[in-house]
Structures are given as C-alpha cells and as structure tokens.
Amino acid sequence: MNIAVCVKPVPDSKYYDQIKIDPVTKTWDRSGIPTVISDLDKHALEAAISIKEKHGGKVAVFTMAPPTMKDTIMQALGMGADEAYLISDRAFAGSDTLATSNILAAAIRKAGDFDLVITGNESDDGSTAQVSPQLGEWLEMPHVMNVIKLECNGNSINVTAKQDGGSIEYEIGLPAVVGVTRKVNKPRLVSIMGIMKAKQKPFNVFTANDITPDPNFIGLKGSPTQPGGIASPEMGRKSEKIEGTPEEIAKRIVDELYKAGIK
C-alpha cells in the first residue's frame, strides 16, 4: 500500500490577526509568523501512517514550496512518513489551484505507483478546498472530499463524506484521492526520536525538468485565475461602550435589541 500525502506549509493560523496589509504596495506582510504544516494535512498524514501500519507499504510526502520550507517537511517525516518530495521551481510560482494540482499530480506520477492519495480538505491560508478534487481530476482517479471516516480494506476504501444534513458512504476501488476533515482522526505528535529518524529518510527535490505536467497550466502564466488587488475587509463600527451595573447594562442591551426589531 503506497500512499501519497500532499502537505502544505502555511503561516500558523493562530497568528492570522497579525497579518498586515501595506496600503501602498497592496501586499501583505506575514513577517514574524512561524510556518507550520497546514492543520488538516496533519490529519491526512495520520490517516496515511495508520493505514501503512496496518497494511504495510510506504507513505510519501509531496510539497510544492520554496526550498526554505524544508524544515516543515521534516516535521511530516518526523510524524512517520517515509520519504519526501519537494517540488520547487521558479516556473511554478504563482500557481493557482488548477496549476498546483496539475504540478502535484505530475510529481506523484513521476515518483511511482500510488494506491491512495490523501490531502487535507483545505489549507489554513487559502481555504479554497479545491486542490484535492482537482488532483483527482488530473490523476484521473475517483475522488471524495469532506471525508469524516476513512477505512482501508487493502484493494478498496470505504469513505464517509459529510453532506449538508447528513452523509454519504462510498466504496472505492483503489487508486483514489481523498480529502480529509479533522473528524477523521487525531494526529499523533512528533517525537524527538521521530525528528532524529527523519534526517535519515530520503528527501527528493523535483524541479520543472524532472516532471511533465500539462505545460499549459503551470505557474502564474498558466493559471486561469489571476490575482488582482488585495484589501483588508471593511468591518469597523462605532464601538460605543455601554457602562453601568450589570442590570443597567442588561437593560440597555435589551433596549437596543428591541430597537433592532427583536421581540
């Protein structure tokens, strides 16, 4: 059972309130915010590692990122993944989800035959939840996202996908791509021993010359979606302070609620 897991290094979501936008250059500043593995990708890793522990095989991590993100990938190896593929090239910069999934699919194809590809349902930073199904489309594999339960039976998987007002369970013959939510498991912590071992594990780097994605869909130029300006959401309100005893405050709040049409 060979499993590919896509892992995205992101700025730690605990610090998103510190992200500042430069009103002049229209760029955002994330300086001082640590980089971590996107939360749901840890659930993807946990799912892959526990399947490997039961069925044998290997877990390979795929990350498209600048070379500086090596430390974050080492965390994934520290959790128990067996090998890593860093996909890094200037030509890939600015890729949207369609281009990113095209490149990741090409790297996965190049690295070998995988029975299962697991991703987090969405990343902490962009939260588009698009890469997982689009990876399935590029790999021409069946795919399911919003997965809250995942069981592997060797040649097939049973996955339960959350829907609005219920859920659907599918059985899928492998290979397949799944996108998991935090409901699927509780990720293990990375131990010191794990990090020590991670240093011995194969760490591969793919550049644009090593893989063959569809050349029409790579990098900013090959991305159907193009970024325009950015802004901070305008949410400021008057923020009038209500003071007094708890009774007085309660009275005023209820008055305001009634005025707003709440009865």
Partner: protein, 358 residues
C-alpha cells in the same frame, strides 16, 4: 479546454499571431449568460442556490446586455423544481434527470455539469459552497480546465466589463480580487447567506431537458446515505443570534446562552473552538470562514474574541453587540456596542431583564 484546443488548431493552419489573438477573443465572446447550479437537497432546492439566482440577476443587470440567467438542475426527478427556480428569477431552466444521478457522486455530477456548461457556453457559473458544491465546483472547473474562485464574498463587474470575484484568505483577514481573463466559463462558489434571493414571483418559463452519456468511474459506488436525525434550525432563519466563544469556559455555562437565545426567540451560534469542545452539537452553528456566514437583525457576541475568520462571517449583521472582559478584544472594533466586563454577570442580568419584560 475548448479555448486551448481551438488555439492549437489555429496554430496548425499557420495563422499570424495577431489573427490568433482575435480568434481567441471571439472564442471568449461566444460565452454568454450566467448559469447557476440549482442544488436539490432532501427534495428541495437549496436556499443557497436561490440566493445565487438573485445574485445572477444582479450581475445580469450590470452586464446590461441580453444575458439570461440559466438554472441547471441535476439529479433524478428534479425537473419538477423548475417553477421554484423561475419564481426566484431564472430565465431558463435546464433539467438533467437520470437515475444514475439519484445520489451525489463527484464523478457523475462533475461530468453532468461539465456537459451542460459545454452545451450552453455560459460566461459565468455560480455554485453554492455547500458540502456538495464545494466539491462539484472544483471538479467541474478541472474537467473544463478553467478558473474557479472559492467562497467569494462579493462579485462585481467593473466598468470595463471585467468580472471580478472577491475571495477571503488567511481566514478572512485579507480579501483579494480574482480575475479569470482568458478562460471560460468563470466559475465562482459562494456560501449561503452572502447573496440575497429575490422576492418570489409566480412566473413561467421554458424548461429544457438535457441529457448526455454518463460514464462515471466503475470503481466507485454508494454504500449508504444517512440523514441527520435532528433537523437543526439554520442560523440563516434566525433574527437574533447569540454567539458564544471559547471564553464561555464550560458546557454548563453554555446552557445559559441557550436560555438567552430562547428568550430572544433566536438561535445559538459559535466559534470553531466551541464546536471542537463539543459544547454545541450543530456544525451549522459555526460562524466564519470554514462555517456559515450570517446576516441576522442582531448579533450578540459573548466571550467571543473576534478572530478574523469569525468576524468575516458576521459583518453583514444588522446590529452587533459584544461582551468581553478583554478591552482589546478585536471583536469590539466591528461592534456597534461593546461591554467590557465578565460576561457571566451580564448574561444573568440579561436573562432576568428579558423574563421581566415578557
């Protein structure tokens, strides 16, 4: 995909580069109309889809041409919902009924929607960011090799005619404009509560049956479908939402917020940590980037700190009042009224006050 293929053909007959670009623009211009995927869940059209038909009408007015709003139904025995779609503003309804589409599967629904788009050439496709839509939209975009902007908070048409999608990043802390200049259709997914449905007006229209061969993946099958036993009231139906943050502290304390919501005839909402802690057993109650967006008449935030990924889901509320003991809580900046105090005494006094007024 089609754009790409056409381009290759032109290169094949050795046209000049200028000609190539002109043909490419003509190709883009052949895409017209706004298509809304009309999702049917539990034998009803989702409110989210009806809202998008309203939004499509707004975009159509901005387009100022003879664009149509086309609603596409996909499923088994879904054609019957056409009158609802006309009533909420669809100009045309396309119905793809097929027993294979009885239960949602990403492969079959993706094929179906992609086929409809290839046939009708809409310039814009709107899909509700429901659980189903969040998967169907990227699946279809990938099949068509076109662009998709996820969870848009606003859609605009600029003076030069450029369709612009505004998307949140970093949990709503940053809003970015997205353009899809050279690919069609331009697809957007939008959560419930962001756009508004039109008032229902009895109206007739043409329903076109659509069908095509559905291949699907023969390795995939549905094992079972489960419905949630309790039907939880959607926050979008509540005039007043009483929202608690992790600062509430315990499940016992949380019950007071439930009482408060009852007295106000409203509903309870929460932030991600509250849901994770299990104080509330309703995923639909989580407000923010990864949950729902709400626009009640009044929002009462209690011990909510106001992280960006929460506040971006409440900004369209009528009145916002928040209570927090931390004077620097970010929630205050986006509140009409703030109370800097330990919430417990205030909540007790509020319950007392409301009981007295009944």
């Amino acid at each position: 995909m089609e754009i790409q293929e056409k381009k290759n053909i032109y290169v094949g007959v050795q046209t000049t580069q200028v000609r190539d670009i002109r043909d490419f623009m003509m190709e883009i211009n052949s895409y017209k109309n706004i298509l809304v995927f009309a999702e049917v869940n539990d034998d009803k059209v989702c409110d989210n889809s009806l809202e998008l038909i309203g939004e499509a009408n707004r975009l159509k007015a901005m387009r100022n041409n003879d664009s149509l709003v086309i609603a596409a139904l996909i499923g088994n025995d879904v054609k019957k919902h056409a009158p609802t779609l006309f009533g909420y503003g669809a100009d045309k309804v396309v119905a793809f009924d097929n027993p294979k589409l009885e239960i949602y599967r990403s492969d079959l629904y993706g094929e179906a929607l992609a086929a409809i788009v290839r046939n009708y050439h809409p310039e814009i496709v709107l899909v509700g960011a429901t659980a189903l839509g969040s998967e169907l939209a990227p699946t279809t975009a990938a099949k068509l090799r076109t662009g998709l902007a996820a969870h848009c908070t606003a859609l605009k048409i600029l003076e030069n005619g450029q369709f612009t999608q505004v998307v949140p990043a970093f949990g709503g802390k940053v809003l970015g404009d997205i353009y899809i200049p050279n690919h069609r259709p331009q697809i957007a997914s939008i959560k419930a509560g962001i756009t508004k449905k039109l008032e229902y007006k009895e109206k007739n229209g043409v329903v076109e049956d659509f069908s095509c061969e559905l291949n699907g993946c023969d390795r995939m099958k549905v094992v079972k479908v489960e419905k949630d036993t309790e039907t939880k009231k959607s926050l979008n139906d509540a005039d007043c939402i009483v929202v608690g943050g992790f600062g509430i502290g315990s499940k016992e304390e949380w019950t007071k917020l439930e009482e408060l919501a009852r007295l106000l005839g409203g509903a309870n909402g929460c932030t991600r940590p509250v849901l994770d802690a299990g104080w509330i057993d309703n995923e639909k109650a989580m407000i923010g980037t990864s949950g729902v967006a709400v626009r009640p008449k009044a929002y009462l935030g209690i011990a909510v700190s106001g992280a960006a990924h929460h506040t971006c889901g409440i900004k369209d509320s009528g009145l916002i009042i928040s209570i927090n003991k931390d004077e620097h809580a970010p929630i205050f900046a986006c509140s009409d009224y703030k109370v800097v105090a330990d919430y417990k005494k205030i909540v007790d006094a509020l319950i007392e006050e409301l009981k007295n007024r009944k």
